[in-house]
Symmetry: C3
């Protein structure tokens, strides 16, 4: 595609030769003739100046020499992503792979791509332009919206983890609810979303889950939530819209995370806790500032002990002296 065409996709301003042909995106250092790269941080300016890319996506044309071909935009990284999509379309030819097993009663959009060894259970709905990579498993009755991308082995609708203890062991608690995955969700490999015991588990529109995330039964994950790899979410957790959750975080059941909250990697949230907007970290979670102060103080522990010992000694001397006195 021509620079001019790419620029139009992102509402950019072309500087230099709009006829330049671009075939591929690349990073600044690797880029060669026919490739386009982006700069969105001052620290990459030296690399940008040395880059052999045929075109750069930049925030401010003034910082580049006049012989450069540029696309000027307010958000170069976003423009790069959009241009990448145009140059390297990831759409797949709609099809159901012959090794996929699709229940007769399932309703799969004719525009969806269903990969090898996928299993789609009874009464499942799969929306338009979904991409289901190999080995995805959709248990009976779950609903997948439009443009949902499920990477290899994503498992939607397995039974939630619920038992009732009795004298002889555990009785399985019924897991007869369902799962609803809304539009534009993407899930990484082996991420699991369990079906509700009763009712439904929900993943909201535009939410992105990384690899091996566990979402327990009856959770309600809002829209545009981002959750990094290996995070585990117990049953009946609510995560409101626009939250950002790190990797390996653990949520106790019945937690609620309020809109826009940010939780650092490896944090642990106690059951029933309400996490207010803000940045949180630690086990159990606390506001980031508080956690940092606590950490700093923990590193002073040895010093504090030494100080206490010294104070004890001084006081003992004073006390002894007083007694003598």
């Amino acid at each position: 595609m021509k620079v001019q065409e790419l620029s139009e996709i992102v509402n950019g301003r072309v500087v230099g030769d709009g006829e330049t042909q671009i075939v591929r995106i690349a990073d600044l250092e690797q880029a060669r003739k026919g490739e386009i790269a982006y700069v969105d941080d001052e620290k990459f300016m030296p690399a940008a100046h040395e880059s052999r890319a045929s075109c750069l996506i930049v925030r401010d044309r003034e910082k580049f020499s006049s012989n450069r071909t540029l696309i000027e935009v307010s958000n170069p990284k976003l423009a790069f992503a959009l241009i990448g999509e145009a140059l390297h379309p990831t759409d797949r030819e709609p099809s159901i792979h012959p090794t996929a097993v699709v229940a007769e009663t399932a309703d799969v959009s004719p525009t969806a791509y269903i990969g090898p060894h996928v299993t789609i259970g009874a009464y499942v709905t799969v929306g338009d332009k979904c991409v289901l990579h190999p080995n995805v498993v959709l248990y009976d009755g779950v609903t997948i919206g439009n443009r949902v991308i499920l990477h290899a082995g994503v498992c939607i609708g397995a039974d939630g983890f619920g038992y009732v203890r009795h004298e002889l062991g555990y009785q399985k608690f019924p897991q007869i609810g369902t799962v609803v995955i809304e539009d534009d969700v993407e899930m990484g490999a082996y991420t699991c979303v369990d079906r509700a015991a009763l009712g439904r588990t929900r993943i909201g529109r535009g939410t992105k889950l990384d690899n091996m995330v566990h979402v327990g039964h009856n959770c309600d994950i809002g829209e545009r939530v981002v959750i990094a790899a290996q995070t585990g979410i117990s049953g009946s957790v609510v995560i409101e819209d626009d939250c950002v959750i790190g990797g390996q975080v653990g949520f106790g059941d019945h937690t609620r995370v309020q809109k826009g909250a940010i939780i650092g990697s490896k944090a642990g949230i106690l059951p029933g806790k309400i996490v207010r907007p803000g940045v949180w970290w630690g086990i159990p979670v606390q506001p980031l500032d508080q956690y940092k102060r606590m950490n700093a103080n923990m590193n002073k522990l040895a010093e504090m002990r030494a100080e206490i010992k010294q104070l004890r000694q001084l006081i003992d001397e004073l006390v002894t002296e007083r007694q003598k006195g």
Copy 2:
């Protein structure tokens, strides 16, 4: 089914019209005509009184108005689970899906359900009424008891993680043992139980593992143990009967957890540690009370530092004065 029939299943006492037809279980708030719900906690009494369920399972009939149809039992939640099983049987028609790959030498009970894309290796035994969901992988020679439920992608018998370091790298240590899964075990999606190096890895009768649990080689997990999602168990760990383990817990190798111990989520157990009965938490684990006290003290650290500083100042004054004196 009629209320009278359901009541008989759980040895309950019917109050009101035993002929009422029930078709489905539901929770108190969602329940409608033809549905049955349960109350086992005082705090749900208002919801219970407003519920439109055709029948309630309750502990004490005295707390309900006389026009309600009730089943009175000592453990309403357990009764609800059993009634749910009766109304929504999860038994699957015994069958082996045509896409499953079953070794000729495997011995699969004719009453088992083997789902799509399951792989069953040589000399594997699968007991009566087992349910193997899609993509379950049973490596050669493992033994699965009766009524075992394995959710999507459960992997039994992959090689344990053992190597011997030498000058040039790592030599694989032989992993030629096996795995025994006893009766009535249930495992969540993608849970992995590795084969023993020598000998066997065991999961005891009635034990329940959530999604993505890792059980290393040569572990011996007892009966009626419950382990939540994403917990990782290193090699040669023993967990005795009736333990309850939270999510994302990590066990060092050769740990032993004694009968009935409870370990909180995200705890970490050092290699070789013996965890006695009781409730444990933290990294490394300590008795819950002790851990809570430590946490409380950690939140006092800033205060302690300020106090020490103040004491230092007072003492300095006293010392100066004494010197003058």
Copy 3:
């Protein structure tokens, strides 16, 4: 095989009857006639003396009675592993299972074993003598070296987790790079290595990953690195050669771990951190000694608080007295 033949494999010295037939490896306590075991630690000497194994692999013949058949070597565990490999070869007949889906453009070595339900995408290379267990997924364009063992469900080349936030939600950042897995790598069940956004993600020669490890996009993992189960590695992390990483460790993005460093289980490494050679533990990681001291001090917190309180009291008395004086 005869003891003499086994000894030659490991350059050992036979003591006793080299003609003794050995059919199987075993541990000291379980070993019977026809089996071989090893002793590499003084504490197992009593078990060794009582072992019924037909042959023992030992470090020092002098410690055994003269009627024992022994193989004397400098590293008995390594010798045992090598002899185990000879007695129990794990090589699989080269073949592609009929249920595997292999793209026409993929280049799979005729000496590789491709198990049931494996998916191999377009332009993938799989080297000599690789073993791909059931359900392995190789996305388009990834490269697998020689003698690589991938356990059930290993997923190589799924999209990395990258998005650009905009007003309406998240735009997927292009994930058009690749993955290179070098020779002699082994990966446990469900381990995932994501493709690079641009460029490549690399797993170096001889590196061993346990079950359910997550390796993010653009990581560069060196040679002979060992990583235990459920560890999560964010994007663009570099782990240099010969590092040893415990289980459930979490790496922030752009971390660098220098050659030979050892990181304990459950540790957490902040984004951008450089971890120098040595032994590290904790969240965030610190040198092991320092972490241990901090832990010891944390257990003294209650004591410290009591001590401070007492000092305060003594000082108050001294101050009061002075004022009176």
